[in-house]
């Protein structure tokens, strides 16, 4: 019997289709990728990107020249532009405003390495330090409400033809809908229970164990109860914290180790699949920004990793209704057993 499961935070139902369940090794159909072009993100190709915003580089090396470890540049084809005013306005029944925002590319390594799982733990930890610096910097711009950090790995996940490990950061002038839903869901749970929904979720998962992939060093990686996609994995800190930017250097290194392990398990177990991951963290909390007081207690930052093994049909987009062809318990068992 298939099961309908409800996400406890945002209330989204998914169908866990046990009857049409596939074995883990039946996934992994990848479409034909276009051929690769010259990589603008490699060391020595600095002039092929817009001027850098931020970098971690050797002493006495000039900006936009070799000698860096990690580099942040504006997107060549930005979704949003940094200059200008919002100018909110109406047009008949419709509302619109100017596309003001920031769109940055975080180049995670000077080497031409595609998958983050192949970077060292120290390097991944530097990437996370850079996330924190960039989010904190963008918070100073009062026009922005949220900075969304995400990664598209491989063509099928929207990464284009260039195979160089990178993340993207987009600061938006409105709190994105999906983020708001999660914040509201977490607050409602907190209002009723006076506990953090994610802390409760971690507690139950650790007792139950069937959906736990990893439990090391203050972090837990689980396949969520209401997974939307086969092998969806969430990485959560066991210690409650709403804001990713408060992470100290030691826990940054632990997180790097956990992320490297999870991504390596996906790579090895599922034949290097395309994936997206998204950092879910608290929005900018300026005074009088209209956010509630309990956000420090009710929200819990985490990373959601979504391998792109099935083709998401417009159906899922249109309805918000997901059919997951692999129970998360099976996915977790499979990933636990992958040596990586």
């Amino acid at each position: 019997m298939p099961e309908l499961r409800k996400d406890p935070v945002i209330g989204r139902w998914v169908i866990i289709a046990t009857e049409r369940a596939k074995r883990p090794d039946q996934f992994g159909v990848q479409p034909q990728e276009p051929s690769e072009k010259v990589c603008p993100f490699c060391e020595g190709h600095e002039s092929q990107t817009p001027p850098e915003i931020y970098s971690i580089r050797q002493k006495n090396t000039p900006k936009n020249a070799p000698g860096w470890d990690l580099r942040v540049v504006p997107s060549i084809s930005p979704f949003l532009r940094i200059e200008g005013e919002l100018d909110r306005r109406g047009k008949g029944v419709y509302d619109l405003m100017n596309g003001v925002g920031a769109h940055e590319i975080i180049i995670e390594t000077n080497q031409h390495i595609a998958n983050m799982s192949d970077l060292s733990e120290e390097q991944i930890s530097k990437v996370f330090a850079c996330y924190i610096d960039r989010i904190n910097d963008l918070e100073k711009d009062k026009r922005f409400k949220y900075a969304l950090l995400f990664k598209n790995y491989s063509w099928a996940a929207g990464a284009g033809a260039i195979k160089h490990s990178r993340s993207q950061l987009i600061a938006t002038p409105v709190t994105p809908k999906r983020v708001k839903e999660e914040l509201v869901g977490a607050r409602q749970y907190y209002d009723y229970h006076e506990r953090c929904v994610f802390c409760d979720l971690i507690r139950q998962e650790l007792e139950d164990k069937s959906r736990v992939v990893l439990d090391i060093d203050g972090y837990v990686a689980i396949t969520p109860f209401a997974s939307r996609f086969p092998f969806e994995v969430w990485v959560l800190p066991k210690k409650h914290a709403c804001d990713f930017t408060t992470l100290d250097p030691a826990s940054r290194l632990s997180l790097a180790a956990v992320m490297k392990k999870v991504l390596a398990k996906l790579k090895k177990g599922l034949n290097d699949p395309a994936y997206n991951y998204v950092l879910h963290t608290a929005p900018f909390r300026r005074q009088k920004a209209g956010y509630w007081k309990s956000i420090d207690q009710d929200y819990h930052w985490h990373i959601e990793i979504m391998p792109r093994l099935t083709r998401v049909a417009g159906f899922e987009w249109g309805t918000g209704f997901y059919i997951c062809p692999l129970p998360p318990e099976n996915a977790a068992k499979f990933l636990r057993e992958v040596e990586a």
């Binding site: 499961r5 049909a313 249109g318």
Partner: protein, 331 residues
């Protein structure tokens, strides 16, 4: 400067690239390519599917034999099962329920290689009438709250079989996006005592710049807040909450606008894959359908959705709908 546009129905924002808009040839989409394989939906292979639930047979022939024009069967790998009671329960902090529901496949035509625009109007009317008939039949089952009719055409759009078919899923609850859409339409109705969709139709037919086609009963247009490039909505001009209340005359109009719209799209993008979904009111309960207006949302599969869309619920559209409509009008 690109524009941020807000959908008046669900409150979703999209980013529309009005600066350097993409033209049709900028889309590097995965084409739909037919493979040669044994097809369970072709004449003579009726035994490969579960027994038929419904069929259109112009000259009487036996069920589960060739001679049909449209055929409805249960999905061989159903996402939901028809038997059993809804058993909502908790497991710790989580909520769940049995996967009770119906999952049917409507084989639109005996032709393996014909997309909708290659069928005659009569053939399209046939399967549209079957959509309606199946909806009415399943609505009798009080366990179901929503009937979703959708089509995935082409492997890139998620179709696992290439023979043209539509799926129908009857659900024991209202899907989240549908609930949001209905809530949005309802609060607009409460405030203005007018249907939001009727207002949209009025504005679109006045402004004309996003309209693709219009006939007596329907209008097809690229929505102001498109989520996908070349997204098209087809809407009945007469206010109606339920798709299955459609009249025979309206079915004729719908068949014709559907055929012409897809013809235009395929003129621009041969071998295009796509999805469409019929958005309609819930059944068997308080649907709050007064301010709702059924319609079809048509989504060409031209781009790949990435992390930003997943994380934010924001969509980025590289071809403004005004420009897309212009290409379509000329196609």
């Amino acid at each position: 400067m690109s524009e941020l546009r807000r959908d008046p129905i669900g409150g979703r924002w999209v980013i529309v690239d009005t600066d350097k808009p993409s033209t049709p040839k900028d889309y590097d989409f995965e084409p739909q390519i037919y493979r040669n394989e044994v097809c369970p939906f072709c004449y003579g292979n009726e035994a490969m599917t579960p027994p038929e639930i419904d069929a259109v047979r112009e000259t009487p022939t036996y069920p589960n034999t060739p001679g049909w024009q449209v055929r409805v069967v249960a999905n061989k790998f159903p996402a939901l099962q028809i038997e059993g009671d809804l058993d909502r329960r908790g497991t710790g902090m989580y909520d769940m329920s049995n996967g009770v529901g119906a999952h049917e496949v409507i084989v639109e035509t005996p032709y393996h290689n014909k997309d909708i625009h290659e069928l005659t109007n009569q053939e399209i009317e046939n399967f549209l009438s079957v959509y309606c008939r199946r909806s009415l039949d399943l609505a009798k089952d009080k366990r179901f709250k929503y009937i979703m009719i959708f089509k995935n055409f082409g492997a890139p759009a998620g179709a696992s079989l290439e023979h043209p078919h539509t799926q129908l899923i009857a659900l024991p609850m209202i899907p989240k996006n549908v609930a949001e859409e209905i809530k949005g339409a309802h609060s607009y109705f409460e405030y203005r005592e007018r249907c939001l969709f009727c207002d949209i139709i009025r504005q679109e037919s006045q402004e004309k710049e996003r309209v693709v086609l219009e006939n007596r009963h329907f209008i097809s247009f690229c929505p102001f807040v498109s989520r996908f490039p070349f997204e098209i909505w087809i809407m009945p001009k007469n206010h109606s909450a339920h798709f299955c209340a459609i009249s025979a005359e309206e079915i004729k109009s719908l068949a014709s606008i559907l055929k012409e719209t897809i013809t235009k799209l395929k003129n621009i993008f041969p071998n295009l894959s796509y999805n469409y979904i019929i958005h309609t009111s819930p059944i068997n309960g308080d649907g709050g359908s007064e301010g709702y207006h059924w319609h079809i949302e048509f989504m060409p599969k031209l781009t790949r959705v990435a992390g930003f869309e997943w994380g934010s619920g924001f969509y980025v559209v590289a071809t403004p709908p005004e420009l897309a409509a212009d290409y379509l009008k000329k196609a």
